[in-house]
């Protein structure tokens, strides 16, 4: 009965996320906080459990401490299982030697024995840096119905922007006929989301073959998929409809947070039928004082707001003192904005202290996001200009 799992998910969470600069100085990209009480990895993990996939390998490599600690035994996502559940897979030493994960495909290759221990029919490959709600089971059903060897999740993007993405050109029944990486003249508006379902045997075969090659960057998008296409394997595109955002840059992370705001947010996470699970903070309800306000904002537990927050995302235990103004900004947990300080168009990492009457960021357009790293201190009356990135341990 329980001798195998139909589908095992492998979540690529080892990337540094260098384009998030100070935010990922000490933590892996998937552990970056998002939306007041989440971390980016909550989205793929919640999608897994909500889609009925209860076996997830999380491949970590870069600064895994916070991420490992956060995932723990997987209990917040109901992934603490006797059989299956969430597993942290880090690079390891072996008889053949030891090596870091060289690319996305190599990372999976090094953990084939983990996958095989569950003897799955299908393997779902996920990225740890996307914000979206997706039912992977729909994609899996499509994969099965079509008898595909691999299914690539895609999303329609405006054709003008298509040249920023990996584009998938499809034929009859969405069968994939061509991949184009950031094409100058895109032929289709279907962008690959970096989410794949492989039939397990095909995955093993192509991963092993790829390892034998020398001229490969061991990457799914660059090597594995094009090789499979060239060999005429059955590859289909699954068209995902809904909100999806790659939050690999400061601007996109900022935009994704802003997408949660407003009366009809572009990304609605309040639907209890598709809950995003997370490790909840231990904190009392937030308090808004006599002169406080939080217009157009979302506010998590434990905040104390005596000043003004407007159109912002406040994570747990943020303090905004009297007379301080936070506008169009994202504040991670435990940060303190002292009296009279003004914060605008900024992302403030955890446990930052912004001194009295300091000014961080500016309202000027075009918007340039100022970033303060974890634990940064801004002195009284100090000015941090728009778009400036301040490392945490300066």
């Amino acid at each position: 009965m329980l001798s195998h799992k139909e589908c095992v998910a492998m979540l690529l969470a080892g990337g540094q996320g260098s384009r998030l600069y100070a935010l990922t100085s000490k933590i892996a990209k998937p552990a970056v906080p998002f939306g007041g009480k989440y971390r980016i990895i909550d989205f793929p993990l919640s999608n897994c459990i909500n889609s009925g996939i209860d076996t997830v390998g999380v491949l970590t490599q870069y600064e895994p401490l916070v991420l490992n600690d956060y995932i723990g035994n997987g209990q917040p996502w109901d992934l603490d299982r006797m059989y299956g559940g969430v597993h942290i897979l880090s690079p390891y030493q072996a008889k053949r030697g030891s090596e870091w994960y060289k690319g996305t495909a190599n990372a999976i290759y090094q953990n084939i024995s983990f996958i095989k221990s569950y003897n799955p029919k299908y393997v779902l490959i996920l990225s740890g840096d996307h914000i979206y709600k997706m039912n992977y089971d729909k994609m899996l059903q499509e994969h099965k119905e079509k008898g595909a060897d691999v299914t690539v999740a895609t999303i329609k993007v405006p054709i003008k922007e298509a040249s920023r993405f990996g584009i998938v050109n499809v034929g009859d029944k969405n069968r994939i006929v061509e991949f184009e990486e950031k094409p100058a003249n895109p032929k289709s508006d279907l962008a690959s989301m970096g989410i794949y379902i492989f039939s397990a045997e095909k995955l093993y075969k192509y991963l092993e073959e790829d390892e034998q090659k020398t001229d490969t960057s061991n990457d799914f998008g660059k090597n594995i998929l094009p090789t499979m296409l060239a060999n005429g394997e059955k590859m289909f595109a699954h068209i995902f409809e809904g909100y999806w955002k790659d939050v690999g840059t400061i601007d996109s992370l900022f935009e994704a947070n802003m997408d949660l705001l407003g009366p009809n947010p572009s990304f609605d996470i309040s639907d209890r039928a598709w809950l995003i699970h997370s490790k909840n903070p231990i904190a009392p309800p937030h308090y808004i004082g006599e002169k406080g306000s939080a217009k157009g904002s979302i506010v998590a537990l434990g905040c104390e707001i005596e000043g003004t927050a407007e159109n912002s995302v406040l994570s747990a235990n943020v303090k905004i003192e009297e007379g301080a103004i936070v506008k169009d900004s994202v504040i991670f947990s435990g940060s303190v904005i002292k009296k009279g300080a003004i914060v605008c168009n900024s992302i403030i990492d955890e446990n930052v202290v912004i001194g009295e009457n300091a000014k961080v960021g500016s309202e000027e357009l075009p918007r340039k996001i100022a970033v303060l790293g974890c634990g940064a201190k801004v002195f009284e009356n100090e000015i941090i200009e728009a778009g400036k990135i301040v490392e945490g341990n300066r």
Binding site: H286, I288, K295, S297
Partner: protein, 371 residues
């Protein structure tokens, strides 16, 4: 800390008929996202206790639903952890127990099988933040048989009838106890219904009381033994409340809008509660919120003053909420006015309704009522 905990969950149900119509005293919602029992449980966990028995009697579905396996309090343990002690039918008693002592009798099996040296007894409605390791060292420093926790209160402001006054001598020893508090006594020491003693001592006391047909814990065990045992008193400073009536529920809740009280209750160890994975609260662009505590998962479009808003409450545009406590899932429509109201869970108040109680007589709306 080498102690186990016992929490009484139904203990004062009768003084809170409105709030306990569908639940135990232990599971009364409090301060936006908690149930009363969270405080007693969290104090035990934060003091390093890993085994807690919860004595239940009736209406305890909501309590079971809330505490589950105890994992949100770190009490889902292979050894010890959270143990529910429902009424245990034995030959000699065919009805449910009525007093604390009879309740403890049902816990004798649990107590005698345990190996912990000490036991901390707490009522589920004792709301405070307290470190029991300090209580234990005080207990041991005095070489006491029993140590009772008390708090100071002004006799004039005491209501309800569950008041046990401790008369404490200069050494901190309990010299006498009184069951009635006269209004003109000024500041008095009231028993907080939290005490510590050796586990074996509690077992002996229960055995002895049962064989002598005694039923009243405070009168027959505590008061009767003031001279016989070394009973010491330990003062809890900072926010403390017992919910003794709907009015006190209202007053004590709103006291938490005061920062000093909030810091006293939440500042030290953190209070655990059932995790619901609610989203953060969303504020509309026209929202106004003053001096209020607001939990997760709410959508606030209107105006909220001096109020406590639980998880998942919706307040529509143009609506004004004042001096009110809105429990989980309450939906208030648009352009309504709500003043001095306590809504139980999932109450719906439609557009343009006007509801008002008064500060010394809040109006209570039953669970799932539609107005």
């Amino acid at each position: 800390m080498d102690a186990l905990g016992i929490i009484f969950s139904n203990i004062h149900d009768e003084s809170l008929p409105e709030l306990t119509a569908y639940r135990t005293t232990a599971s009364i919602p409090f301060c936006g996202r908690y149930r009363l029992i969270d405080f007693a449980l969290s104090n035990m966990v934060n003091s390093g206790m890993t085994k807690v028995g919860v004595i239940t009697k009736s209406n305890y579905q909501s309590l079971m639903d809330h505490i589950g396996s105890g994992k949100d309090w770190d009490l889902a343990r292979r050894h010890g952890g959270l143990i529910i002690l429902p009424p245990f039918g034995v030959k000699e008693s065919t009805s449910l127990y009525n007093t604390r002592l009879e309740a403890l009798k049902t816990a004798t099996g649990f107590l005698s099988k345990s190996t912990e040296e000490y036991v901390v007894l707490s009522d589920s409605d004792a709301v405070c933040s307290m470190d029991y390791t300090e209580l234990l060292s005080y207990h041991n420093d005095n070489n006491a048989d029993m140590t009772l926790v008390y708090f100071k209160a002004n006799a004039e402001r005491i209501d309800g009838n569950n008041n046990l006054q401790l008369i404490v001598d200069n050494d901190g020893r309990v010299a006498d106890m009184a069951f009635n508090v006269k209004k003109d006594m000024g500041e008095v020491c009231l028993y907080a219904n939290i005490c510590i003693m050796r586990r074996t001592m509690l077992l002996n006391l229960i055995q002895d009381a049962v064989s002598h047909g005694k039923t009243h814990f405070a009168a027959d065990i505590l008061a009767a033994n003031v001279n016989h045992f070394k009973i010491y008193a330990y003062e809890h400073q900072g926010y403390f409340t017992r919910i003794s009536s709907l009015q006190s529920y209202y007053d004590e809740s709103l006291k938490l809008l005061n920062k000093e009280n909030r810091d006293s209750l939440f500042g030290s160890g953190g209070i655990y509660t059932k995790v619901k994975d609610s989203v953060p609260t969303t504020y509309g662009t026209d929202s106004v919120v003053n001096n209020s505590l607001i939990a997760d998962g709410c959508t606030i479009e209107g105006k909220v003053y001096n109020s406590i808003i639980f998880r998942g409450v919706k307040v529509g545009k143009g609506t004004v909420i004042k001096n009110s406590i809105l429990m989980q899932g309450t939906m208030i429509g648009e352009n309504a006015t709500v003043n001095c109201i306590i809504t139980d869970k999932n109450v719906i108040v439609k557009d343009r309704r006007l509801l008002s109680g008064s500060l010394n007589h809040p109006f209570f709306i039953n669970k799932s009522t539609v107005i």
